[in-house]
Each structure stands twice: as C-alpha cells, then as structure tokens.
C-alpha cells in the first residue's frame, strides 16, 4: 500500500485512508486484500446454487439464534396456559409449550420460526441441486475430489440438522418421526436394542430425547456445518472456480469479474434477495402448524401426514419392502425389512461419495480439470447421474404412496408395486434414454459445426427444389461446440512382468462401458475437407 508511510498527520489523507492504514498496521490485512480482492470469479447462473445454500444457512443461523432465546428443550410435563385457546389446559412437554408461546405469545415469533423452517428446507434443497450441477458438469474432477466429499458430508449434516430441529417441538408428528427412528434402530442386529436405549435414555419416548437433540441441533451439528463450510470455501479459493468452455477460456486461466467490487456486489445482493424471499414465504405460508397436531402421544396418529421433504427418500425406502422380510434365526430376530433399506441407502451414499475417485481410476486422467463439461459431452456419466436421480426420486415418491393412492384413486398395492418397479427398473431405463439423448445431441453439435446452423431462409433452386440455407458458425460459437475432450476405451496391455491382472481387466471393461460410444469433437481437417460425415 502506497499510503502505508510512517508519516502521520498528512493533511490530505482522507478518513477512510487513515482508518485503513491504522487497521493494516495492526493486522497486516493489506496482503490479504491484495491477494484476494481482484481475483477473477467466473460467473454463470448455475454457480449460484451453492450460494443459495450458503445464504439460506446464514438465515438459519440468524433466525435460529433468535429462537434459542425462547425455546426450552425440556420434556417436563406442564398444562398449557398460553394464548392458543383450543389447547388450554392440555398436558404437554415444556418444549411443546414454549414452541406454542413462540408462535402465539411473542410478536414476530411465528414469523421467525417459519422463516427458520423454510430456510432449512431450502438449505437442503439447494445443496442437493448444487451437487447435481457439480456432478453433471464434471466439476468434481481433480483437483476438486475432496471438496466433493466435503460438500456431500454437508448434505448429510444438513439433513441431520433438519431432522433434529423437526423433532424439537415434541408435537405429535415429530414424536411419530422419533418413534420410527426408534423402531429402525431397534431393528439393527446385535447393537440395535442397546443403541435405542442409549439414545432415548431408557425406554421410548423417555424424558431425555428432546434435550439431547437440542445439544446436537444447536451446538454439535452447527459447529460441524460451519467448519465444513469454511473448509469448502477455502478450497474454492485455493482451486479457483471452474468455468464453462468459451472463447479465451483455457484450463490455465480463470475469467470473470473481480471479487471487489462486482462479484461482492452480486453475491452480497443475492444474500439479501434469498433472505427476502424466505421472509416473504414465511409471511405468507404456514409451515409445521404444531397447534393442529397437538402434543406427542404414542396412541393417536392422523393419516396422510408427511415428513419434511428431505427425509422422504428414507421413509419411502421403508415402505417399498415387500411383506415378510423378517426372520428368526439362531434364536435372534433378523429384520431385513429394516436392514435392506438401510443397506441400500448406505451403498447409494458410498457410491455418490466415491464417484470422483471411481471415474478418475477409470480414465486414468491425472491432469487438473478447470473447464466444466457440458453434460452431453460425458454421456455415460450423465446417464449414470440420471439413473441415480431416478432411484432417489422413486424412493422419495414412495414416501407419499398413500397420498398418491387417494389422490389418483389407485389402490395402495398398485402404487407400491409401481414404485418398486421405478426404483429397480427405472434407473436402467433412465440410463439408457439419457445416454441416447446425449449422443444424439452430440451428433447434432457435430452437424452444426460441419454444415452450419439452419438460417430459416428457404431458397428455391433452379431445378425447382427447395433448400434451407445453412449459415456457417463464427469461430467463437464453433469453439463452444468443439472444445471438449473425449476418452478412448482403455486397451488392455500386459504390465512390466508380462501379465494381465484381473484389476486391469476390470478397469478395461469399465472403461469400455464408459467410452465405447463416444463422439469425438470435429477437427479442423474434417471441416476443411468439407465432407465430415454423413448420417
């Protein structure tokens, strides 16, 4: 900084300059500002999804902190004595009563509570969409594999935050949710019974669980989420953001507006927009009206109740198990009706977590990748993603099987069987269709590069024949369509000792599966010779 001279009292120095010098001489912040302030930050609407997640988390922190001043995480029984007349005198836990007080006796309390809940739903949704964006553009490739793992961990932590928060008011619905957790845990072989006993401090429901979930919800989980977000963002700075292919953009540069001022203005403004949208939703739409459900009681339940959206896939997985999957063997109960969903979801999670490493192993590509792929240019990856989305969507829809059945006048059995098919066969169909669509789109791209785009101008030839005139692409547009890489299937070759290992063979077959039908980008020669390929 040129202003950092030791002379004081220079008459022309403005207040801001003096303040900056004062702070810098005590913090060395100038180096930091110089390093980060003018970094180029690539810009694209799809890069905003991560910001939505981050900003809704900030809203969650702000609104949640307010709620902690009023919520009391105790399961001691009281007779409700607040403003909501229909529940007056009803026996309930202090947790439930204080949640009702937040809603009916503290001005603006309902507003903050609803904003907190809506923000939580948005938080998990935004992380999910952000992860889909990362996946389908291949932005998880080297050097960003760890950040993929960190991000996915955040997704799971966010769901845990959501579930623990949902359970705190101790109302009928959240109590039923905990009952299901208790039943699930009890179904785990060997450790299940004792684990449930430890979680609930004795028998279900006990008098401990709300307090324990509260410790998790406001201390342990937020600390983890904040730590992982910090790590996630540090890596974004270290790696610099990816960018889509475009003229002038290379794997060796990052192109975009500088962090100060434009990116800061856009992101800072966007924070207030997210905050504002959540405020608007909270003002207009009721969420989780616990006063309609009443306090938790193990006996009553109402039909057609739904968990928060992000728990749906787990609830749906439980519903799709056919009858009879539980056995007594060796004098012990084996609850496969619980184990199979748990294991299936566990495998799904591990596959998602490991995907960057699996793909890196198949391609053997050790270079850094900073250009985000167009999904069509990685057809097999995109198709696998579509299969995963279908699997998840099938489980998720199953959580509403009863609503689907009553709404569309179907039988419960019919809906369950259809969704079982969606979960098991659906991924294969989605895989197949997506791959074909990707390849068709790639072929169309080649067509456009080779023969130009349709201009919409119809010309009549002397022979009476009509043709549509095709305009050639300019070099910038062409670059967007040809600047991608394709991979060849791996050739099996013997290693140094002249052997072909099983691992090699496996890798080669995966590689063939991935890259067999790839389409290569158009080359200069093809365009010049003017007769690329004819289909």
């Amino acid at each position: 900084m040129s202003t950092a001279s030791p002379t004081t009292g220079t008459p022309k120095r403005s207040f801001t300059t003096s303040a900056a010098v004062y702070v810098n001489e005590r913090t060395s912040i100038a180096g930091f500002v110089k390093e980060l302030g003018r970094k180029a930050f690539p810009d694209h609407w799809s890069f905003l999804l991560g910001e939505v997640a981050l900003f809704s988390f900030v809203v969650i922190l702000i609104s949640g902190t307010f709620l902690t001043f009023f919520f009391q995480a105790s399961m001691a029984e009281v007779h409700y004595d607040g403003s909501y007349v229909p529940l007056k005198g009803v026996e309930m836990s202090v947790a439930m009563a204080s949640t009702l007080d937040i809603s009916f006796d503290i001005r603006g309390g309902l507003f903050v509570r609803q904003m907190h809940h809506w923000a939580a739903l948005l938080f998990v949704a935004a992380i999910g969409l952000h992860m889909l964006r990362i996946y389908f553009t291949g932005a998880f490739r080297k050097p960003r594999e760890f950040n993929w793992v960190i991000g996915f961990t955040l997704f799971i932590l966010a769901m845990a935050e959501g579930f623990t928060g949902y359970s705190l008011p101790d109302d009928l619905l959240s109590g039923n949710g905990l009952r299901i957790i208790d039943g699930l845990v009890k179904g785990i072989p060997v450790i299940g019974t004792w684990t449930s006993f430890l979680i609930f401090g004795g028998e279900f429901p006990g008098t401990q669980i709300v307090g324990r979930l509260y410790s998790l919800h406001i201390m342990i989980l937020p600390a983890l989420v904040i730590a992982f977000i910090a790590l996630h963002l540090v890596f974004v700075v270290v790696h610099k953001h990816t960018q889509y292919a475009g003229p002038g953009k290379t794997p060796q540069n990052a192109v975009g507006p500088p962090i100060l001022p434009i990116y800061a203005a856009k992101a800072g403004g966007f924070f207030f927009i997210i905050f504002g949208v959540l405020a608007l939703i909270a003002a207009l739409f009721t969420i989780n009206p616990i006063w309609n459900y009443g306090p938790y009681d193990p006996s009553p339940v109402s039909a057609g109740t739904q968990p928060d959206w992000y728990i749906g896939f787990a609830d749906g997985a439980l519903r799709l198990i056919p009858p009879g999957w539980e056995f007594v063997w060796l004098d012990r109960t084996w609850s496969f009706n619980i184990l199979v969903p748990l294991i299936a979801i566990g495998i799904f999670i591990v596959l998602v977590l490991m995907y960057p490493f699996i793909e890196a192993w198949i391609t053997g590509d050790k270079r850094e990748h900073h250009i985000a792929d167009r999904p069509r240019n990685a057809p097999t990856r995109t198709a696998i993603g579509a299969a995963g989305v279908t699997f998840y969507a099938g489980l998720w829809a199953a959580a509403s099987s009863d609503i689907l059945a009553t709404h569309f006048w179907l039988t419960m059995e019919g809906v369950i069987h259809a969704l079982q098919a969606v979960v098991i066969i659906g991924p294969f169909i989605a895989y197949f269709i997506t791959k074909r669509v990707c390849i068709a789109l790639q072929k169309k791209d080649r067509e456009i590069v080779l023969h130009g785009y349709e201009s919409g101008r119809i010309v009549r030839l002397p022979g009476g024949e009509y043709i549509e005139v095709h305009e050639p692409l300019d070099e910038y547009d062409r670059w967007r369509l040809v600047s991608f890489e394709s991979y060849a299937p791996l050739m099996i070759r013997p290693n140094a000792r002249g052997k072909i290992t099983a691992g090699q063979k496996f890798r080669a077959s995966l590689s063939r599966w991935f890259f067999e039908d790839r389409i290569a980008p158009v080359t200069k020669g093809e365009l010049e010779s003017g007769h690329g390929e004819h289909h």
Binding site: R179, G192, I262, A265, G268, L318, G324, A520
Partner: protein, 358 residues
C-alpha cells in the same frame, strides 16, 4: 464415428493447445486430436446499454437508490407493524396479521436492498472482466522440495522414525486416552435397567380393566356394539406419576367387536376374546407407529406410517406392507360387573422387532 481405432500410441500427452502450463501429468485415456481447433481468444468486449446511453445509465442509478429508499421504508414498516398489530387477544387471526405484516415489511426491506445492490453491480459498476492465471495446485517443485525438507529435518531432529519405541508407545497412549471419555457415555442409558425385560412387559396385568383413551373410563362389554372400535389404555395409566408416555407407548390397545362368525380364531386363543370382542396391540410391529385406522367392513387395520395392513378377522396377520408379525393379541374377559378386563399381560413383546426378540 471418428477415430475409433485407438492403438494406445495416440494416448500420449493431450491438451497440446495449452502449452503454457501443460503439466506432465498423465492424461489417462483422453484422446489428443492432432488437428484440433485453436482457441480463438476472447471476443471483443460488448458494451452494455448503460455504457453507451447516458440516459439509461441515469435511469439505472435512479432505480438503484429508489430501491434502497424502498428498503428503508420496508424496515420501518416492519417495526411499525410490530406495534400496530398486537396479538395479546387470544385470537389466532391477530397472530396471522402480526406475522403477515411484520413479514411483508421485512421482505420488502431485504428484497429491495438485495435487488438494488445486484442492479448496482450489474448495470452501474464498470463492467470489468479479469483473467487470472491458474497455477498447479500442488505448488512449484521448489515449494514441494522445501516441504519435504521440513519433514525430513524435523524427523531427524526429533528422531521420530529412529526412536521407534518412543514413537510406538506414544501412538499407543494417544489411542487409549479417549477410552474413559467413551465409557462415560454409558450414562446415556440408566444403569439399573435392562432393555429386554422392559420391552417384554407392559402394564397390563390379570384383571386390569380396559379403559377409554384418553379419558380413562372403564369399558363395559355391553357398550361395545358390533362393528365399533375403541382406543384403549389400561385403567390406572392416567394416575401414573412417572413414565406415563413410556407405558402408553407399549400398552395402547385397539378394541373391536366383530360378528363372532366372522372371527377366525386360532385354536389356542379360543378363549382370548369375549363374544366377538377382540383386543390387539395398537403398536405396529414394523417400526412402532400407532395402527390407528380401522376399516369396519373389511376388518382391516391400516398403519398410516408405511401402510402395513392387518386383518382383524384373521388374528391380525399382515396382509400387505413391510411389517412381518401379526399385532400381538391381548387376552380379555369380563369381570363380575361386566367390565372388560385383561386375562394377563401380552404373551409376547409388543411393538417393533428387536434383536433379542424371538
């Protein structure tokens, strides 16, 4: 399609178009295309309307500060709404108004502020675009060598590798020291209770009267008409000082009366019902939700959680859904005053399965 014949010779270094930093990392099976197109470089910068038309720029500036003033209005309105819409009248409508108007004020304040800032950034700030060079994430070879040297130096100075006894005992101590902390967590569950006996018994005893949930009034057999269903708790549950919900979570029962001819009872349970009146645990054998929906004409019980269905006419066996076991039956009789009573506790654990159950 093009170049499908890959002999492996072509799989050398790809990415030839970017020689600047092309690292020597292996491209794996990525193909190099010999005559790939070259990156045409950045297109000419296109000015925005606000760059070219001073009137539009003026207008954009006006929009920005108008939005900021609107935001101030929104904040002030939210504060005013806090005072103008009280909710101390025990009237839910007032709560709704309070929520609505505080919320609309806050939303206006935040949205106008956010849109204003973004608009400033997009149409008033100079449209600067920068190009940063990326460097290999691993750092330069010199940096890497320096880091390696730090480790070898500190290893030599500390003797971490050489003094293996010290090192291994250190690792051992570090592995063991968290154990006491883990053991402390045993205290999450009570020390003086075991789960299995607790899960195997409920508060039903021989002679306990069946009572209505939630009032606790005992039920006379003569009050149970054919086709009706009652939600039942053991008499005395409501008087419990502690653990009322724990007991209720096990003891909740559904009472139904069918035509005795429609009941298909197991031979060993012939005397568990009374004149077509049967009592079954209400706690689902899947993961424990209350099985609360009774369809009178089919005699089916439906669990709303995962749609398991139980057939009351057929000793509550599962006819659909993920549950496996029938709902446990409570043997009942009547006492001399005509009230329904339990003959005993359930003869098996109620509710979700657990490992030790058999």
């Amino acid at each position: 399609m093009a170049q499908d014949d890959n002999s492996g010779a072509e799989l050398a270094a790809a990415d030839s178009s970017h020689a600047a930093h092309a690292s020597d990392a292996s491209p794996g099976t990525a193909l190099i295309v010999q005559d790939a197109f070259e990156n045409p470089g950045f297109p000419a910068h296109r000015p925005r309307v606000t760059d070219e038309n001073p009137q539009r720029e003026k207008r954009a500036q006006r929009t920005v500060y108008t939005l900021f003033y609107l935001s101030i209005l929104g904040s002030l309105w939210a504060v005013a709404a806090y005072m103008l819409f009280p909710m101390e009248s025990n009237n839910p409508g007032d709560v709704r108004l309070n929520n609505l108007f505080i919320g609309l004020g806050a939303a206006l304040a935040l949205l106008a502020l956010g849109i204003g800032i973004v608009h400033w950034g997009k149409s008033v700030m100079e449209d600067v675009e920068l190009v940063d060079e990326r460097h290999p994430i691993g750092g330069s070879p010199e940096t890497q060598a320096a880091a390696v040297k730090v480790f070898t130096d500190s290893d030599r100075e500390s003797g971490f590798t050489r003094r293996s006894v010290i090192r291994n005992s250190l690792i051992g101590a570090i592995v063991v020291f968290p154990l006491p902390a883990l053991v402390l967590f045993r205290g999450l569950a009570p020390q003086d209770q075991l789960p299995v006996p607790l899960l195997s018994h409920t508060m039903w005893r021989k002679g306990t009267r069946l009572a209505l949930d939630p009032s606790g009034a005992p039920i006379k057999a003569s009050d149970v008409t054919i086709g009706s269903a009652f939600h039942v708790i053991p008499e005395g549950l409501n008087d419990l000082e502690h653990g009322k919900l724990d007991e209720k979570a096990k003891a909740a029962v559904l009472l139904m009366r069918l035509e005795p001819s429609e009941l298909n009872e197991l031979p060993e349970r012939k005397d568990w019902s009374y004149d077509g009146i049967v009592a079954y645990s209400k706690i689902c054998t899947h993961v424990g939700c209350p099985v609360a929906l009774y369809e009178q004409h089919t005699h089916h019980l439906l669990c709303p959680c995962h749609q398991s269905q139980f057939d009351v006419a057929n000793h509550c066996e599962v006819i659909f859904g993920p549950a496996k076991r029938p709902l446990p039956q409570l043997p009942i009789a009547i006492d001399d005053e005509g009230y329904l009573i339990a003959q005993s506790d359930f003869t098996e654990p109620v509710g979700p399965s657990f490992w030790e159950r058999h």
